[in-house]
């Protein structure tokens, strides 16, 4: 038995005590006192879109909710680096959309090709047009392959997987790592921020090192050619590398010539304006921007990201379109307008849902509360996290600097440090199971 607002309202509408409340929840001018006929289309069934669809239906069963998604199976990016490192299976990161269907959500496997913000409709590849009262866009990211000259989608799908969308490319990269000989070099290039999963590349370097070290290939090198001059959880990663993979991982900052701008597949060499990075395996992570549908709808800024009202997640460009997840820059929040993580997409979706319901019911916008938790696993039993809390302060959304932050780098003694890292490596796995269920079940 759930104990949520819907149950409250159900209880309310079946008793006489609450007549004034019902009236209050449906002021004149709102849609007929019931949300029953409001049509909401959600484009993109990742963590953001799935959460939005589920919570819309869960909080108001009368809504007409349609989720448009390309793939019948979702694969989580979080914990996919662990698959490359041999610490997890891709199957465990996958789920379908039956859970959402069972909730009464109309799940359509199709490609959303165009949005008409004025006519309030979404066109699908199959030819169908879906009309909406509110649209939730959660298209994730697309890659700007041109950002690294010589790299291409074709290379990504054949010889040089970026593996920065989890799925077949994850397994392809894993296979390449498995094929490395002792003494070989793995080159990993990091695009300029913002990119999805800020600690992702560094966790990947750790996982590749874990695999190589535990397979008698400890003389291999992992070279991270970075477009940026610092990175997420830097102190935690550097500590882990020193403890678990001494001498194996080298990081080249953008200012030190790490910003890769071209790639030659024949010689397996990635180059910045100053350096050539030649590897036995070269893993290019190309620059990103918001998913194409957002770009084509005119929702993106000059850098390619969707700007939103920080308190509601409604697009600053078109009303009644809410944008959540990796495709957004969330105002001026650090870092790069809030981290692009599954947890952030989940929390943004819930805020968007709260505001859509408020619009439908003519009630005030709820006070926004955003939370982010992001775990990385650098080695078996060695996990750590960063937490962000974003709250309303003097009418503005701010990062609460008294809360959040990264796991402690140094602790009183080794036993304490080991306990902390062990706990968070386990929490990472539990977190994924729960957030997958929170979005898809």
């Amino acid at each position: 038995m759930s104990f949520n607002r819907r149950e409250f309202l159900k209880t309310l509408t079946t008793t006489s005590v609450i007549v004034p409340l019902t009236a209050c929840a449906a002021p004149s001018g709102s849609k007929s006192g019931s949300s029953g006929k409001a049509r909401i289309v959600v484009v993109g069934g990742g963590f953001g879109g799935a959460t939005a669809a589920k919570y819309l239906k869960m909080m108001d069963a009368g809504l007409d909710v349609t989720l448009v998604e390309r793939n019948k199976t979702f694969t989580s990016c979080p914990l996919s680096n662990e698959v490359i490192g041999g610490h997890g299976k891709l199957d465990d990161l996958q789920t379908g959309y039956d859970g959402l269907k069972k909730r009464g959500i109309n799940v359509v496997f199709d490609d959303a090709t165009a949005v008409d913000p004025a006519g309030k409709s979404v066109k699908l590849k199959s030819g169908t047009t879906l009309k909406y009262d509110f649209l939730v866009l959660s298209p994730g990211i697309d890659f700007n392959y041109g950002g690294v000259a010589g790299y291409s989608e074709e290379l990504a799908n054949t010889t040089h997987p970026h593996a920065y969308k989890a799925g077949p490319q994850t397994l392809a990269l894993k296979k390449q790592v498995e094929g490395m000989q002792d003494g070989d070099v793995f080159v990993l290039t990091v695009p300029p921020g913002p990119f999805r999963c800020p600690p992702g590349p560094y966790e990947r370097a750790s996982q590749v090192a874990s695999y190589l070290k535990s397979h008698g290939k400890g003389k291999c090198k992992i070279l991270i050619a970075d477009s940026n001059d610092s990175f997420s959880k830097k102190g935690l990663f550097e500590q882990a590398w020193k403890m678990h993979y001494p001498g194996m991982i080298e990081w080249v900052a953008g200012a030190a010539g790490g910003k890769v701008v071209k790639f030659d597949a024949k010689s397996n060499t990635a180059s910045s304006d100053f350096n050539d990075f030649k590897g036995n395996v070269v893993n290019i992570i190309p620059p990103h921007h918001a998913g194409m549908i957002a770009k084509n709808t005119g929702l993106t800024n000059d850098k390619g990201w969707c700007t939103v009202n920080m308190l509601t997640m409604e697009s600053t460009v078109h009303k009644d379109i809410f944008v959540v997840g990796d495709s957004t820059v969330h105002g001026d929040l650090p870092v790069y307008g809030a981290p692009k993580s599954a947890h952030m997409a989940n929390t943004q979706a819930k805020v968007a849902v709260g505001n859509i319901l408020a619009k439908i019911n003519g009630t005030p916008s709820p006070e926004p509360f955003f939370v982010n938790t992001c775990y990385s696993i650098a080695e078996k039993d060695w996990g750590f996290s960063v937490v962000h809390i974003y709250r309303l302060k003097d009418g503005k959304l701010v990062y609460d600097t008294k809360a959040g932050g990264i796991s402690p780098v140094n602790m009183g003694d080794e036993a304490q440090l080991k306990l902390q890292r062990k706990l968070e490596s386990e929490y990472a796995v539990g977190w994924l199971k729960n957030i997958m269920a929170d979005a898809f079940a």
Binding site: S2, F3, R5, T373, S385, A403
Partner: protein, 190 residues
Amino acid sequence: MRSSLMIAMAALGLAALPALAGPTEDLARTCNACHGVNGVSVGPSMPSIGGLPEAYLKNVLLQWKSDERYSATMGRHFKGYTEAELTALATYYAKLPYVPVVQPADAKLVAQGKNATDRCETCHGATGGTPDDAETPKINGQWAKYLEMELMKYRNDAVKMPHKKMRGNAKKLADEDVAVAAQFYAAQPK
């Protein structure tokens, strides 16, 4: 079902509109990502929190905020909440039904666990489902992985865990009994 409806009615009668507007429910919705809808977790390392005693939840939440109790992650979250919000969350989750989770159990390990948990009975009850006071959590049907990790915290002197009696008893468990004790309670439906 009946009881939660009655609670709903009672809460409604007393608190009227502001409670319905739901700031606590809005906050709680963010907890779902890690602890499950209605506080029922599906991740073995994360505890179910729905239906735990209010006094216990309030203690733990406030102790994490003030760093009186060690946590790997939660303390960093709760510094971003006010004491009033944490108290309201404790009340909110305490009113939800406690749902023991069904999880894989090895009969032999569960039997070993039963033998290892005599010292736990006084406070948590024979199956972990009947704690002797309001500040003691139910542990029947809690995730085994989580229980095992909590025991690891209590057994590690380097971290701050405020409950002396619990710490003393956790440390008296033999190393090999930690996991089986967790298995035993996890397997108890009531």
